[in-house]
C-alpha cells in the first residue's frame, strides 16, 4: 500500500515511476501510484523527469536501430545448415555451425583477430597438436573394469576423431550434423563444442547431495588414505602422461565420471574451504559453491560431487565426453608468496569454447608447497591430483580463470622466464 503524500516524493513511489512509464506495473499498483501522484506535486515533477529520460533514451536508441536488410542477412547466417537437434539431442557440430554462420557474413572483421592471436600463441607452444600417445594413469590399476571401458573408449576415440577430423576440414556449412565431439588439429581450443548453459544451477537443484554419507565416500577406491600417504611426499618430476580418453559412449563416460566423482568428493585433497571457488573454478555450470555451507567439509565435498554429476549430465547431453583428462603433456608453474608452487597441467585438446566466448579447460590441478603448514592442505601433483575444469576468459590476449583473475599461460609466459616472476595470488 502506498501511503498518501502531499509535499515530497515518496521513495517507494519514486522507484516505481519508471515501471509506471514502461507499463510493467500490475494494474492495482499502477492505480495506487497514479492516485498518489494526484496528491503529490513532487512526485509529479519526478514523473515528468522520468518521462523526459524515457523519451531521450528512446530517441538515443532509435539513432542506432538495425535496418531490416541487416536483419535479413543476420538471419541468413543462422539458419541454413547450421542446426542440429536442439536441447537434449546431439548438437550439430559447432565448428560446422559457426563456419556456416560465418559464410553468411561478408565483413572481413569477422576473422576475429583476438581469437586468431590466441590460436597462434597456442600453436607455438610445445604442446603436441596431434593426439598424444594413449596410456593409462597409475590409478587405473585399482580399476580393472574401468580400464577396460577406457580402452574401449580409446578405440572409439580414435575412430570418431578420425571421422570427425575428416568432416571438419572441408566446408561444413551444408553438411548434416554429425553430433560428435572432435578435435581440430593445430587449433586445440577451436570451436570443438559450442555450448551455453543458460540456467544457473544452485544447490537447491541437487537435493540428492544431502543423502551422501561419509560411509559412501569411505567405500570409494580412492579414499583419503591415499592422500594421507601422498601428502608429504615429494612429487618428483612431472613426467607422467595420461592422455586423452576422448569421445566414448555413454557407459564409458558414466564410468569415467564415477571415478571423477569419487576422486573429487572423497578425498580431502588439500581443499581448504576458502579455496573452493578456485578449484571448482566458480563459473563451472554457474554452480556457486559458496551456496553450500562453507564451514563444513561435507557440504563442500558433496557440492563437488554434484559438479561431477552435472559435468557428466552435460557431457551426455552434448554427446561429448571430455572426461578422463589428460595432463602431463605440458607443465606450467608459478610462484606464490608462500613459496608454494602452483602447477596446472593441461592439454588444450580437452578444451571447449563456450558460446559466450569463454573457454572451458579440463585439466589436473596440482599444488605443492614447501611450507609444511601449507603442505598439510596441499596435494601433490601425482596421478591422484584432483581433476579440475577451469572456465577461462580472455582479457587483453591473456586467458584468466574466470572470476579469479588467475592467469593461465599457453605460450611464453613472463613468469617462466622473468628474473622476478609475476606473483599471482588468489586474493
Amino acid at each position: 500500500m502506498i501511503p498518501p503524500h502531499d509535499t515530497s516524493t515518496d521513495d517507494n513511489v519514486g522507484d516505481l515511476l519508471p515501471a509506471l512509464i514502461n507499463g510493467t506495473l500490475d494494474a492495482e499498483t499502477a492505480m495506487q501510484v497514479r492516485s498518489h501522484l494526484d496528491r503529490c506535486a513532487a512526485c509529479r515533477e519526478e514523473l515528468a523527469e522520468w518521462e523526459a529520460i524515457a523519451t531521450a533514451t528512446r530517441a538515443y536508441t532509435a539513432r542506432q536501430e538495425i535496418t531490416a536488410p541487416a536483419l535479413d542477412r543476420l538471419w541468413a547466417g543462422i539458419e541454413p545448415g547450421t542446426l542440429g537437434r536442439p536441447g537434449n539431442g546431439a548438437l550439430s557440430h559447432p565448428a560446422q555451425a559457426r563456419a556456416a554462420v560465418r559464410q553468411g557474413i561478408t565483413d572481413p572483421s569477422q576473422n576475429d583477430p583476438a581469437r586468431q592471436s590466441w590460436r597462434t600463441s597456442m600453436s607455438t607452444t610445445t604442446i603436441p597438436t596431434s593426439r598424444p600417445r594413449f596410456a593409462f594413469p597409475a590409478w587405473t590399476r585399482h580399476l580393472h573394469g574401468i580400464s577396460t571401458a577406457l580402452l574401449i573408449a580409446v578405440i572409439l576415440a580414435l575412430a570418431v576423431a578420425a571421422w570427425g577430423l575428416s568432416g571438419i576440414g572441408g566446408n561444413g556449412g551444408g553438411d548434416e550434423p554429425n553430433g560428435n565431439f572432435a578435435v581440430v588439429p593445430g587449433s586445440p581450443v577451436a570451436e570443438s563444442t559450442s555450448v551455453y548453459l543458460p540456467e544457473p544451477l544452485t544447490v537447491e537443484d541437487a537435493p540428492w547431495i544431502a543423502a551422501i554419507t561419509a560411509a559412501e565416500c569411505d567405500a570409494e577406491p580412492m579414499s583419503n588414505h591415499d592422500y594421507a600417504e601422498a601428502k608429504h611426499t615429494d612429487p618428483g618430476p612431472l613426467e607422467r602422461s595420461y592422455d586423452i580418453v576422448g569421445p566414448a559412449d555413454s557407459a564409458d563416460a558414466e564410468a569415467a565420471v564415477a571415478v571423477l566423482r569419487a576422486h573429487q568428493a572423497c578425498t580431502d585433497a588439500g581443499m581448504r574451504a576458502e579455496d573452493r571457488s578456485y578449484y571448482t573454478s566458480a563459473g563451472l555450470f554457474n554452480l556457486n559453491v559458496a551456496d553450500a555451507n562453507p564451514d563444513t567439509w561435507s557440504d563442500y565435498k558433496k557440492t563437488r560431487m554434484e559438479i561431477g554429476r552435472q559435468w557428466s549430465a552435460w557431457a551426455n547431453e552434448q554427446g561429448i565426453y571430455p572426461l578422463v583428462l589428460i595432463t602431463g603433456v605440458e607443465t606450467e608453474s608459478g610462484v606464490s608468496p608462500s613459496n608454494a608452487h602452483w602447477e596446472w597441467r593441461y592439454n588444450p585438446d580437452n578444451s571447449v569454447m563456450l558460446a559466450d566466448g569463454r573457454m572451458m579447460l579440463f585439466g589436473q590441478g596440482a599444488y605443492w608447497a614447501e611450507d609444511p603448514q601449507i603442505q598439510e592442505y596441499g596435494f601433490a601433483p601425482d596421478p591422484n591430483a584432483t581433476l579440475v575444469a577451469f572456465i577461462l576468459r580472455e582479457v587483453d590476449g591473456q586467458w584468466l580463470i574466470d572470476e579469479q583473475d588467475i592467469p593461465i599461460c599457453f605460450g611464453d609466459c613472463d613468469w617462466k622466464t622473468a628474473a622476478t616472476p609475476t606473483v599471482h595470488t588468489r586474493d
Binding site: G14, D15, P18, A19, I21, N22, G23, T24, A42, E46, E49, W50, E51, A52, I53, A54, T55, A56, T57, R58, A59, Y60, T61, Q64, I66, A70, L71, R73, L74, W75, G77, I78, T82, L83, R85, P86, G87, N88, L91, A97, V101, I105, D107, S109, Q110, D112, A114, Y196, L197, P198, E199, E317, A355, D356, G357, R358, R393, V395, D396, G397
Partner: protein
C-alpha cells in the same frame, strides 16, 4: 505481457499473450520454424540491444547469431525460471561483454554502482526542462552501464525483475542503478548548461 508504445502522443497499451515458453518447447523439439519465430520476435530488439555494446556490425551479427544458436542448443535445458526475453538478452549481453572485455576492460559494474551521486539535490526540473539535443548529449556522456539499464526499461519495456535477470543483479540494484543513471543525467545536463 504488457507492452506500451507511444504513438503520436497517445499512449497505446497492448496486451500480448505470453506463449514464449511454448515456443521454447517447440524449439527443444527441433522445430526450426519456432526458431524463425523466435528470431522474428526478438532478433530486432536483440540487435538493437547489442548495438550499445559495439558499433562493429560484424560483432553485432556474431552476437545475435550466437545468441540464437545458443537458444536453439540450450532450449532443452530452459526451465522457465526466467522470461524468454531476459534469457535471450542475458545470453547476448554476456557474449557482448566478453567481446567488449577483450578490447577495453571497464570498471566493474559493482564499482560503478558504488560511485557517489554526482549531483545530489532536488533538480528534477533540470531534466524535464532540458531540450532534446541537450538530453541526447547527456545520454551520450552517460556510462554504458547506466544507458543499459535505461534502455532495458524504456526501450525494451522490461519489468524490473527481467532487468535483474538479464543483468544478473539484485532487484534493489536495478532501482538504485536507475536512480544513479537519472542523477548522472542531471549532472551532465547541468554541466552542459554552465
Amino acid at each position: 505481457m504488457t507492452d506500451v508504445d507511444d504513438a503520436g502522443g497517445t499512449r497505446r497499451v497492448k496486451v500480448i499473450t505470453d506463449d514464449s515458453h511454448a515456443l521454447i518447447a517447440r524449439l527443444a523439439a527441433g522445430d526450426r520454424a519456432a526458431l524463425r519465430e523466435l528470431y522474428d520476435r526478438h532478433g530486432a530488439e536483440l540487435a538493437t540491444f547489442v548495438v550499445r555494446y559495439t558499433s562493429d556490425r560484424g560483432e553485432i551479427e556474431e552476437i545475435v547469431q550466437d545468441t540464437m544458436l545458443a537458444a536453439w542448443n540450450g532450449s532443452g535445458r530452459f526451465v522457465g525460471r526466467s522470461s524468454v526475453r531476459s534469457w535471450l538478452f542475458g545470453i547476448a549481453r554476456r557474449r557482448a561483454a566478453d567481446i567488449h572485455r577483450r578490447r577495453r576492460p571497464e570498471l566493474a559494474d559493482a564499482a560503478l554502482d558504488t560511485l557517489s551521486d554526482p549531483a545530489p539535490g532536488p533538480e528534477a526540473w533540470a531534466l524535464a526542462q532540458a531540450g532534446e539535443d541537450e538530453l541526447l548529449t547527456a545520454m551520450e556522456r552517460l556510462s554504458p552501464m547506466h544507458r543499459e539499464v535505461l534502455e532495458l526499461v524504456f526501450v525494451h519495456h522490461f519489468a524490473y525483475a527481467e532487468v535483474a535477470e538479464t543483468l544478473d543483479i539484485p532487484l534493489g540494484t536495478v532501482k538504485s542503478r536507475l536512480n544513479h543513471a537519472r542523477k548522472a543525467l542531471r549532472a551532465h545536463v547541468r554541466s552542459d548548461a554552465r
